[in-house]
């Protein structure tokens, strides 16, 4: 019931805004409706804590003989953190909208509220069926939003590519279910066959863009800061929850060590790119990729709580940074202080992030701690580079509400370190946190002193596209295969559809008939 109350606040708020937009476009208080809806939803999510675990079951799919599982949603300690993070970022997004140039923007708020509702359903998914349904809802929302908002042809194509990769990710989750069923263990988030874990990992990796590493949107300034941020973070949260749900016993494939290596390198590469990037919004995919890789690593090390810690840091830390657009001394300090929550030091949100019973080769620690430090140092740098817009030029209400939006996300980052879920009030692997913090401080100190760490923006330089990269070669190999298959299919089609096609068909039929007759005998 409590889940339904939260969802009602979000969906009814979105519906009310939509109806007002259609029937009363001059309505003056859409923002108040949006804020009230998301605030009530946020507060109701806090109330979930009283009655955890909570469940929501949709009417059972029938016939039951074909559908042993129906969409089912559950609030437990892990999914609550994600739901809380999402509503917090949603609240922050709508509160900070007051200073945006496009204010008021009711359609964007409708999108944010609806997306928040779907995102919450995704993180509460109790079985793969529920997860795959909510994933598709998010994918379709993203696809149509992008198609409606971008005008450039190449960006439209990228939207389609991004959608296909995500659908492929959903496909891998379905395949994991089939593999598990074939092995005699129907897939759910409690038990799964050992063959299926790798496919779930690939599903999450594909959707997050980690495995294989791909960035469908290298530049996405076309998406607005508010809705764009919400979209990216909701999409990431819905995929990250899978990492916390994969049963560790299912991750016993012989391919896992290779996957681990690839993810580690992805973490290092994306954190390096994030650290060196000059534009925060353009670099957003690297932040998502880097933090998501660390979450994947935690899952592979049998630490679902750690994976949630990284995931929550991705959402709340990312939300805090990407929504910040005004310069103010105190707000900048909040941004810098938020780094503590991501430092993996004791009693912080990420205290449990590096914990695990699994031992790890020292070389990996070098890569992973470097990646974490680069992400944090990059975060610090991006926090410093928030555009200098005059804070005092805004109305008194904006000057009060905007910091509230930023502050509430910061508050969530801190509070989750000490309350509300299994990762709270934990000491964790404090020595690793100390090392990461130390490297981060060194990087922050070195950055202005070493030129190669601080590249100047060079818009006038055209990237060297002539030289083929490894990824480029892989893609060209893929396209060669595609064109070969296309030629082959056309050849066969031409034969079968030509005037002689009937003869060919009859030949096939005789062949089949003889095969069937032999089979029967």
């Amino acid at each position: 019931m409590l889940i339904l109350i939260t969802l009602s606040f979000l969906f009814l708020g979105a519906l009310a805004l939509l109806l007002l937009r259609i029937f009363n476009p001059d309505f003056r208080y859409p923002w108040l409706i949006a804020v009230s809806s998301i605030f009530l939803a946020w507060a109701s999510v806090l109330f979930w804590q009283i009655k955890i675990p909570l469940e929501l079951t949709l009417p059972a799919w029938q016939p039951v003989i074909l559908f042993p599982d129906s969409p089912h949603f559950i609030v437990d300690q892990l999914s609550w953190v994600y739901a809380f993070s999402l509503t917090t970022v949603g609240l922050g997004t709508i509160l900070t909208a007051i200073v945006r140039k496009n204010f008021p923007s009711a359609p964007a708020w409708v999108g944010i509220l609806a997306l928040n509702g779907i995102g919450i359903l995704a993180v509460l998914a109790e079985n793969p069926l529920a997860l795959v349904l909510t994933w598709t809802a998010i994918d379709l929302a993203e696809l149509f939003t992008l198609l409606a908002s971008v005008k450039e042809e190449n960006l439209r194509e990228r939207a389609v590519i991004s959608f296909s990769m995500r659908v492929l990710g959903s496909g891998f989750l379905i395949w994991a279910g089939l593999v598990s069923t074939a092995a005699g263990t129907p897939l759910n988030f409690i038990s799964a066959s050992k063959e299926s874990g790798i496919y779930m990992l690939i599903a999450a990796g594909l959707r997050l863009g980690v495995f294989p590493m791909h960035l469908p949107f290298k530049t996405e300034s076309a998406l607005r800061r508010g809705y764009g941020t919400m979209l990216r973070l909701t999409s990431a949260a819905s995929s990250l929850i899978l990492l916390a749900r994969i049963p560790y016993e299912s991750l016993q494939s012989p391919f896992i060590p290779y996957v681990f290596a690839i993810i580690s390198l992805t973490a290092l590469y994306s954190s390096w790119m994030w650290f060196r990037a000059s534009d925060t919004l353009d670099a957003r995919p690297y932040w998502l990729l880097g933090m998501a890789s660390l979450a994947l690593i935690s899952s592979l090390r049998a630490n679902p709580v750690g994976s949630v810690a990284w995931g929550t840091a991705l959402i709340l830390g990312g939300g805090l940074l990407f929504l910040s657009s005004l310069q103010n001394k105190w707000l900048n300090r909040l941004l810098q202080l938020s780094l503590i929550a991501m430092s993996t030091l004791p009693f912080t949100l990420t205290a449990t992030a590096w914990q695990s019973q699994e031992t790890l080769w020292w070389g990996y620690w070098f890569i992973l701690l470097s990646a974490q430090a680069l992400l944090l140092a990059g975060y610090y740098r991006h926090a410093q580079r928030v555009k200098k817009t005059d804070f005092k030029s805004h109305s008194p209400l904006s000057r009060f509400v905007y910091p509230l939006g930023i502050g509430i996300i910061f508050f969530a980052l801190l509070i989750l370190g000490i309350w509300g879920w299994p990762g709270a009030i934990k000491i964790g692997a404090w020595y690793l946190g100390l090392i990461a913090t130390f490297i981060t401080l060194i990087l922050i100190w070195l950055r202005p002193r070493i030129r190669s760490l601080d590249p100047l923006e060079a818009h006038w330089l055209k990237p060297n596209t002539a030289e083929k990269t490894t990824t480029g070669r892989v893609y060209s190999l893929f396209w060669s295969l595609y064109y070969f298959l296309r030629r082959l299919s056309r050849f066969i089609t031409n034969i079968l559809e030509s005037d002689g096609g009937i003869l060919w068909t009859l030949l096939f039929i005789i062949l089949f008939a003889s095969l069937i007759a032999e089979g029967i005998r």
Binding site: A60, W61, V160, V167, I174, G177, T181, A513, G519, R521
Partner: protein, 466 residues
């Protein structure tokens, strides 16, 4: 009064009168209402049960009708099937005006449906092959108007469908022998082989489906869509009749393997061929091949799930096909060509029409949240339990059809200049497609809504229905 007169006689008698109205809208509306009325009657009016109208008056609808020494029997168990056929036909008829083919499709379609219903009810049931052949001949003017020269697709359609008839008649003749002499392996082999070939022609099993893409290029997509919905559906019911009737066929060890192999062949070839098409109509044609493949696959699971997996496909597939062909017809009517190069950026000019096209395509390939997903998941899961290799091939087919969908989507959003959104197409066209999209989403999220109908459908087949 008897049931065959209501569900076969009335539509056959009314169909010539549907030529009379001069306005296509009226024809479509009348056709839709008649079909809907017949569907409702099939759902509510009991057959072979006395109905007490007043203290002195009662009424009983007989279940059979004799003609030329043959019997046409519509039993109470057939009623859900009639509801399904006439209910879906009503949707096709209502949409025909928006597709611009109402004046041909409604009268011809009505008589084809009546004949195909007769084919399912005739005794001895071997006469069904002849009635199906008559229906196919009647379908020719629908697909190829008299003023137009018939293309290769229509001729091939006629040849392949006609070839099915002798195979089925021969196999039926041999089957009577098998029943009386079940130990005769030679006879059994001949009967089964001929039956398999007959249905391979009728269901357009690989490589006998070349007429489908050709026809999609030549004729109105809506008219072809109607035929591609109706003929395979009736052919499947006819095949179920064979399976239900002959125990030796039902218990034939290799039957599930044969059905599964044929299904996978259809799914893989249909999917792969669709992935490389540059014509939206041909793409839909191959998607229909894919649909038939999944129905065969679901049928192969009859020993485990009876017919529930098979019947689960009917409504989603029909709905997707209806929306898809309507969208294509609107684009053909307004723009002419369905070639990729001519349809770039259409999503900005025809947003709802193109969304209908895209949603129908995605539903066909089983994208989660859409109507096609639950049945595909069920059938795929059932196949995976048998053999993971087969499930893998199904995945290849699905991924290939997804490639086709992504290509279509990419073409639709591809526009050299920055286009602004405009809503083209008539209100009727947009509303019908919009409602279709809504139902695709509704059945994707709540497949149990089809349950009242689906639970009753298998009773038409006493042994298979369980």
């Amino acid at each position: 009064m008897n049931a065959p007169l209501i569900w076969i006689g009335i539509p056959l008698i009314l169909s010539p009168f549907l030529w009379l109205p001069r306005r296509a809208n009226v024809t479509a509306f009348l056709g839709g209402i008649i079909a809907l009325f017949l569907a409702l009657l099939a759902w509510f009016l009991p057959i072979d049960t006395p109905l007490r109208i007043s203290a002195t008056l009662s009424f009983k609808l007989a279940d059979s009708f004799e003609i030329l020494g043959r019997q046409i029997i519509i039993s109470p168990a057939d009623q859900p099937l009639l509801t399904l056929i006439y209910g879906l036909a009503a949707l096709w008829f209502f949409g025909s005006s928006a597709a611009g083919v109402a004046r041909r499709l409604v009268p011809i379609g009505m008589s084809i449906i009546a004949l195909l219903v007769a084919s399912l009810s005739v005794q001895p049931f071997l006469y069904a092959a002849l009635i199906i052949q008559t229906a196919i001949l009647i379908a020719i003017p629908l697909l190829s108007p008299p003023e137009k020269k018939p293309g290769r697709g229509i001729i091939r359609f006629l040849i392949y469908q006609t070839l099915a008839m002798p195979f089925l008649l021969f196999s039926g003749w041999l089957m009577a022998g098998v029943e009386s002499n079940p130990g005769d392996l030679e006879l059994l082999t001949q009967a089964a082989t001929l039956l398999a070939l007959g249905f391979a022609f009728l269901l357009a099993v690989f490589p006998l489906y070349t007429w489908i893409p050709l026809l999609m290029e030549e004729a109105s997509p809506y008219a072809v869509g109607f035929i591609l919905w109706l003929l395979p559906s009736i052919a499947f019911f006819f095949a179920l009749g064979f399976l239900d009737r002959y125990a030796w066929l039902r218990e034939f060890d290799q039957l599930p393997d044969v059905l599964r192999s044929a299904g996978i062949l259809m799914i893989v070839t249909g999917g792969i061929w669709a992935a490389f098409q540059r014509h939206l109509g041909r793409m839909m044609g191959y998607a229909t091949v894919f649909n038939i493949g999944f129905s065969l696959l679901a049928l192969s699971l009859f020993q485990d799930y009876q017919l529930s997996a098979f019947f689960l496909f009917i409504v989603p597939q029909s709905l997707a096909l209806l929306i898809w062909s309507l969208s294509l017809s609107v684009l053909t009517l307004r723009e002419g060509s369905l070639l990729f190069k001519s349809r770039q950026g259409d999503i900005y000019r025809y947003p709802i029409i193109v969304l209908g096209l895209i949603f129908a395509h995605f539903s066909t390939l089983g994208l989660p949240l859409l109507a096609g997903f639950p049945p595909i998941l069920a059938a795929w899961g059932g196949v995976a339990e048998k053999t993971l290799l087969s499930a893998f091939w199904v995945a290849v087919g699905v991924a290939s059809l997804l490639t086709g969908a992504v290509r279509t989507l990419a073409v639709m959003v591809m526009s050299p200049e920055k286009e602004n959104w405009t809503l083209n197409g008539s209100w009727l066209q947009n509303i019908l497609i919009g409602v279709g999209i809504f139902f695709i989403l509704l059945f994707g999220l709540f497949p149990q809504l089809m349950s009242p109908l689906l639970t009753k459908l298998p009773f038409a087949f006493s042994y298979l229905g369980g």
